[in-house]
């Protein structure tokens, strides 16, 4: 049987289409987060998205939309806390994020929804994706690509030197808020594919790989996107071939890609011992 055989089925086509979108756009946001030293931001917002999913189940609303609302509000809230609160930033974030997780567990418990259905959101079940999931993911993916195309250069300028960016009249606070909101949007978009607990990995790992290979910022963006897409495709094929959990397999593939590239790049950079060196 060809490895492409499973893609004859509609559920696999949906999975692949959704996975391609998420694999392409999650690392785009991740590039900015990683270089702002906010690599764990995605994980934290994932906790908030979980509360949103639980809220949707309780209210009987499509959970992707409630997750989007709660995660976006939480992301903007945490950015405001981070930039304005007097308490230390990571403590404020931790309070917010664990609060979100606890609220999610309690909300889900109300409806007795702490079961396999919610596990799909936590750990991802790309194979059960419905056409409306694909529409939501596609729309969110378009928003992210457009935002990066429009604001990417200014966000890059704040990465290079925040103080000069302020002096140059670039609205640094506004862009930070935008980045937080986009992070929330990306996480919700990726939720069905790899799950909230693993989505942060898909935002960060392809970036870690790409920055070892690319010379430019633009190259890092495109490379991260390419590594994300490749991880989804390879992970999906592998998970269907060997009956593995799809979300976890995708992230493992992304991690493996980083490990291989890190070893190869490290070897290439290390100077070779000179000929004639003392044995």
């Amino acid at each position: 049987m060809s490895i492409l055989e499973p893609f004859r089925y509609q559920y696999m086509q949906l999975a692949l289409a959704g996975g391609l979108v998420v694999g392409a756009v999650a690392p785009l946001i991740g590039v900015f987060l990683v270089h702002k030293r906010l690599s764990l931001m995605g994980d934290g917002i994932g906790h908030l998205a979980f509360a949103g999913v639980a809220l949707g189940i309780v209210l009987n609303v499509y959970p992707v939309w409630t997750a989007l609302a709660v995660a976006a509000a939480g992301a903007v809230g945490t950015e405001l806390l981070r930039s304005r609160a007097r308490t230390s930033g990571d403590l404020a974030l931790a309070i917010f994020f664990y609060g979100g997780l606890a609220a999610g567990v309690v909300l889900a418990g109300l409806r007795g929804a702490l079961n396999a259905g919610i596990l799909a959101y936590l750990f991802g079940s790309i194979l059960t994706m419905q056409p409306r999931d694909l529409w939501a993911i596609g729309a969110i993916g378009l928003v992210i690509v457009a935002a990066v195309a429009v604001f990417g250069r200014a966000m890059f300028a704040t990465l290079v030197d925040e103080e000069s960016a302020r002096v140059a009249g670039i609205p640094v606070e506004g862009l930070n808020l935008l980045l937080s909101a986009l992070t929330a949007v990306t996480i919700v978009a990726s939720m069905r594919v790899v799950g909230v607990l693993l989505v942060a990995a898909l935002m960060v790992l392809p970036v870690a790989t790409s920055r070892l290979l690319a010379r430019s910022f633009r190259g890092t963006l495109l490379g991260a996107s390419a590594v994300g897409v490749a991880s989804v495709v390879v992970g999906l094929v592998a998970s269907s071939a060997w009956g593995l959990a799809s979300g976890g397999t995708i992230v493992l593939v992304a991690g493996l890609a980083f490990a291989v590239v890190a070893v190869v790049a490290g070897r290439r950079r290390r100077p070779r011992p000179r000929d004639g060196a003392i044995p």
């Binding site: 270089h35 702002k36 030293r37 429009v150 604001f151 250069r153 200014a154 890059f156 300028a157 990465l159 290079v160 030197d161 925040e162 103080e163 000069s164 960016a165 302020r166 002096v167 140059a168 009249g169 670039i170 920055r211 690319a214 010379r215 430019s216 910022f217 633009r218 190259g219 890092t220």
Partner: protein, 256 residues
Amino acid sequence: MRAVTPASSSPLLLARGVGVSLGGQVVLRDVNLALGPGEFVALVGPNGAGKSTLLRVVIGLLHPDTGTVRLFGADPAEFGERWRLGYVPQQPTLQSDVPATVEEVVAAGRLPRGRWWGRPGPADREAVTHALEAVRLVELRRRRIEELSGGQRQRAFIAKALASSPELLILDEPVAGIDAESQRHFRETVTHLVREHGGAVLLVSHELGAVAADLDRVVVLRQTVLYDGTPSGLIERGVSLGVHREDLPLWLEGLR
């Protein structure tokens, strides 16, 4: 017509009676400073004299407790035409490991010229190349910024500030700890900007050796302005430019 200094018509930069206290400590007291078109002025003073604070005030990052500041005739915090000002912070903080080419960093300085959300056009690319030429980094434009030496990196950030073709360039300690070759390039760049393009330069420094001969004015600051005049006037007072409290020659002098 507003009040002007004898050296200039309508000043690009004007500070009147500026006072700043930080954490209960007086950092600046009744500071007056004016900078006209085409002027090359150095702001000097010992460590902790308030030089960087004054810079933050004039570029609008810090609001003074007393006094007024005008940047191109406007309040610095509300001043709109940001491209007219080029700013190079002390040790530009390239967040250590952002993967970016020299060209990308310089192009980021071009943003205030257009709508910062717009796409760069041919004029923007030309300005970036011109800025790279001015600091002699054209050959290294596709290098990753982290592969450059400290002096080359400093020049890249000066090119970034030049990319918007500013009328006023403000530099905070640009030659601190950079190699002799980069210091020479720096001098050429700044004097070219002043002479050929009529730009004004405000340079904050500990050490003026590299540019002492090219300066129009020197402003000595310690909480307030102690001296504001020509370099020769300062030399007549027995002060050797490029030599300050911490510097070896003066320290040796004190041993005699």
